[in-house]
């Protein structure tokens, strides 16, 4: 099936089988392998991408459902080697160890703070409860997200 959508600001047009998930399409066809696949049935949150501003699980969405949408993956959140403020905060707080869950944590937190730059610790915990991390124990992740809030509230907020 022929579909068109925009990913990280670039228009793409491709043929996909209807049964291909958005996550598989991003990784295998578009080679955007920053989106990780953990459980592939909507439990772990590693594959979270941003579809028209909303964080969604790319394993629970078909590529054909993305037709006409604007998708942002973790690759779309930073420029080359420069870390975004959120990524820098993750680094500072040691909010990752193996890094497998990190793309999903970053995309989820980015979508949250873009919409709710004043999210408190309880809200951040509630939102990230949909993302499983087996290394960190979550505490450094929460700290990193809370500290990054300032960059989403001011005039230098990312688009």
């Amino acid at each position: 099936m022929r579909i068109k959508f925009e990913v990280n600001g670039t228009k793409v047009e491709l043929d996909v089988e209807p049964r291909v998930s958005l996550a598989d399409c991003l990784r295998d066809t578009l080679r955007l392998t920053g989106t990780h696949l953990g459980c592939e049935h909507g439990v772990c949150g590693a594959c979270t991408v941003i579809v028209d501003g909303a964080a969604v699980r790319a394993c629970l969405m078909l590529a054909v459902q993305a037709h006409g949408e604007h998708i942002v993956t973790v690759e779309g959140l930073s420029n080359d080697d420069a870390l975004s403020p959120l990524q820098a905060s993750f680094r500072k707080h040691h909010a990752l160890q193996c890094g497998f869950c990190t793309p999903g944590m970053i995309t989820t937190a980015h979508a949250l703070l873009t919409e709710e730059p004043d999210a408190d610790a309880e809200r951040v915990r509630e939102v990230l409860s949909g993302n499983i991390c087996r290394c960190t124990g979550y505490i450094p992740i929460i700290k990193a997200v809370l500290e990054a809030r300032a960059h989403y509230a001011g005039e230098d907020a990312p688009p």
Binding site: E40, H41, A54, A55, M61, V64, Q65, L128, G130
Partner: protein, 285 residues
């Protein structure tokens, strides 16, 4: 790639969607948010020949509030219920319960109609529909029919929907301003399916006695259910420690929990008793 092979259609009218269902019969499955259907496909518990995506069907995404009550279109997503400032006043029990549905990312996709059609016994939306005398609006080849939520859910993951029918919305009767209510559920992790939960409300007569009590439970039987004995224990009484204890005990005896690896039957009965007591105490407070 985990999903079985299927065809995909995105009709742009309800008639076109109904037409596809008519041609393909039970081989076609409707797709709204996909947050229940995609896991089913990933586990290959379902293998439909055609997915009919309702995204471009107009008129399914509206939230209506009027003197009759609340109407939720089938394509209303959970995040839209969160964001609707008027709903919290028009139906506080609905908004509180829906706040417990799943996790952030799933709340951005999952829909009212999808949850009703999937009919998980522990899901909040079917529980609210049954507790609050909801009516499910269904469109089929022969036109529209309205089904009382109490008659809609037949068992776990089973509804009275016919293969050629589409849920278009849910209607909940108007909510009096002074109504007493509470929603409580218990899950091991916030956002997971509850081991059990309760939604309840009652009104007060001029003497301060409860009337028209509605006590519903989820995760406590093969479908959401109201508890007639527990309601009887409250109706006509002041909602105090004695009537709350009587209602909670009646509730624990009245439910018909399933045994699974999450919790044994006795645990779920005890949980219902605790949750109903706490919810009534909260409602009375």
């Amino acid at each position: 790639m985990k999903f079985p092979a299927f065809e995909y259609a995105r009709p742009t009218s309800l008639d076109a969607a109904l037409g596809l269902l008519k041609v393909h019969g039970g081989d076609a499955v409707l797709l709204a948010g996909g947050q229940s259907l995609m896991p089913l496909l990933a586990f290959r518990l379902a293998a439909p020949g055609l997915l009919v995506d309702l995204k471009d069907v107009p008129g399914l995404g509206a939230i209506g509030i009027d003197a009759e009550g609340v109407r939720l279109g089938a394509f209303v997503r959970w995040c839209e219920i969160d964001r609707n400032a008027r709903l919290a006043a028009a139906h506080p029990l609905l908004v509180e319960a829906i706040g417990h549905v799943a996790h952030y990312q799933i709340r951005n996709r999952g829909t009212v109609g999808g949850s009703l059609a999937y009919a998980d016994p522990a899901a909040e939306m079917p529980g609210i529909a049954v507790t609050c005398d909801g009516e499910i609006i269904v469109m089929g080849g022969a036109g529209e029919r309205r089904v009382a939520a109490a008659d809609f859910f037949l068992g776990a993951l089973t509804t009275c929907l016919e293969p050629g029918e589409i849920i278009t919305g849910l209607r909940l009767p108007a909510w009096p301003k002074d109504r007493r209510w509470a929603f409580l559920e218990f899950a091991r992790r916030r956002g997971d399916f509850a081991l059990a939960g309760t939604a309840l409300y009652y009104d007060l007569d001029s003497e301060g006695r409860a009337v028209d009590a509605h006590i519903g439970v989820i995760g406590a039987a093969d479908r959401p259910m109201r508890l007639a004995e527990a309601e009887r224990a409250i109706n006509g009484s002041a909602v105090d420690a004695d009537s709350i204890a009587a209602a909670a005990e009646a509730a624990s005896l009245e439910v018909d929990p399933m045994e699974d690896f999450h919790a044994p039957v006795a645990y779920r009965r005890a949980l219902v008793q605790t949750l109903v007591a706490r919810a009534l105490t909260r409602a009375a407070g």
